[in-house]
Amino acid sequence: MNRLKVELPGLSLKNPIMPASGCFGFGKEYAKLYDLSVLGAIMIKATTVETRLGNPTPRVAETASGMLNAIGLQNPGLEKVIAEELVWLEQYDTPIIANVAGTLMEDYVEVAKQISKSKNVHALEINISCPNVKCGGITFGTDPAVAAELTAAVKAVSEVPVYVKLSPNVTDIGEIARAVEAGGADGITMINTLIGMRLDTRTGKPVIANGTGGLSGPAVKPVALRMVYEVAKHVSIPIIGMGGITTVDDVIDFMSAGASAVAVGTANFVDPFVCPTIIEHLPEKLDWLGINHVSELIGRSHR
């Protein structure tokens, strides 16, 4: 028996641990450090139709137990991602979740249609929640009707299951979750970053060139955990949880709150070996909890 195996729509995960989108590029850099086949899955960097060069620098700033980023969805564009990055990733026995972004609804549909045909893309993650791009993105994620419509449009063209990535910057996350479920989403990933800001104390000006950035890291874990807990009450599709996950204990907490798998973002920057380390230590933690299989954790806070 594989104690860590988790089955999700489109995804047969050998373990529930995967790097979060934007914190792992397209895997090449981490592949120099360890074998990517140990990962449950890989969420690749957001892909847009066109090449994007992103925001001006500085793009990151440190905060208490967290960081801000405003990368601006820099990526080589749909064509190159499919022809180069995804093909390169085929050497690993790891399902890819392609993070889809854009400005207009048509952009999302175009990326979803093309990228979902790639052999190793087993699911899409629709990024309706990036706080760092001026138009599109964030608004899709804050209006339930628009979120549902976008989900349905992507779902209509995608050849693989569709997960929608929710923004935490909303009044009622449960409402958005229900909307995307109604729109046909196969799963939810959450949370994207909280909008935040850091100022240079001397000048009074924002440290990040973009002004605001997205807050991630251990600081946001309590917010993320509560949102996963909340959404788990409202939908019956699975959740991939994230937000500050750094240790095995964090994984246990997110799954207890209702996540079926988890993603690790910022922690990769603190320790590039964090994903394999968590995967290695997960079984001992299950022993400590007296639990046979990781899936027994899912939603136990609610029971």
């Binding site: 620098t57 500085p58 990151v60 960081m67 750094t246 320790d271």
Partner: protein, 258 residues
Amino acid sequence: MIRKERMKVIEQNEIARNIYELTLSGQLVEEMKGAGQFVHIRVSDSYEPLLRRPISIASINHELEQFTMIYRAEGRGTSLLSIKKPGEEVDVLGPLGNGFPVHEAKKGDTVILVGGGIGVPPLYELSKRLVENGVKPIHVLGFQSHDVVFYEEKFSELGDTHIVTVDGSQGHLGFVTSVLAELQQDFSMYFTCGPLPMLEALQNMYPKKKGFLSFEERMGCGIGACFACVCKTTEQCSVDYVKVCSDGPVFPAGVVHI
């Protein structure tokens, strides 16, 4: 290969005002190839401060499996680093990036090394290597004032060394460029690390010379995955952008759009 290791503090000294020289030991030193690479340091096991700090490798001692870095204790992370005592451990990720191409300079060449402030440290290992290869380095090192000058003697042992301070409290008064203007101009190439305005001035001053510039940018991952540290490139470059952490920090003159 990039490794992560809890390295041991061998020695730490304040060598100028708020400037610390820290020597660490560990197997990771085996991987250090050349001058101009850097390490990414986690200063504590707490989540605050969270991110690693990029610090250049100032000198490498493969025999002892030790390396030295020189840094300014300024913000939260470097201040915490500066109180580490011999025997304590420091979490190091490295070596990272591509350093100075030492072999571009041929035996008998004269080259110029220009450093500004905490951009001076990586030039030390570079200079040692150049001298080993029979190259003659001339050092022009700029600082704010006399109390933050360091390694004057060490550089002097390797070649001509000109110290410049903004307030004239040690060496020449002014900027590195004023000293450079008075120097012999028959050098084959220049290597430089320091604040952006200095890099820009150098590039403009020697449009025809071969030059290698080391850049700084705020970093996330330090290994090329997060796109935090990108720089736009100039038109003559074939790619749209470069990453300071993995493509750099050293680039040939003319690559990075300053």
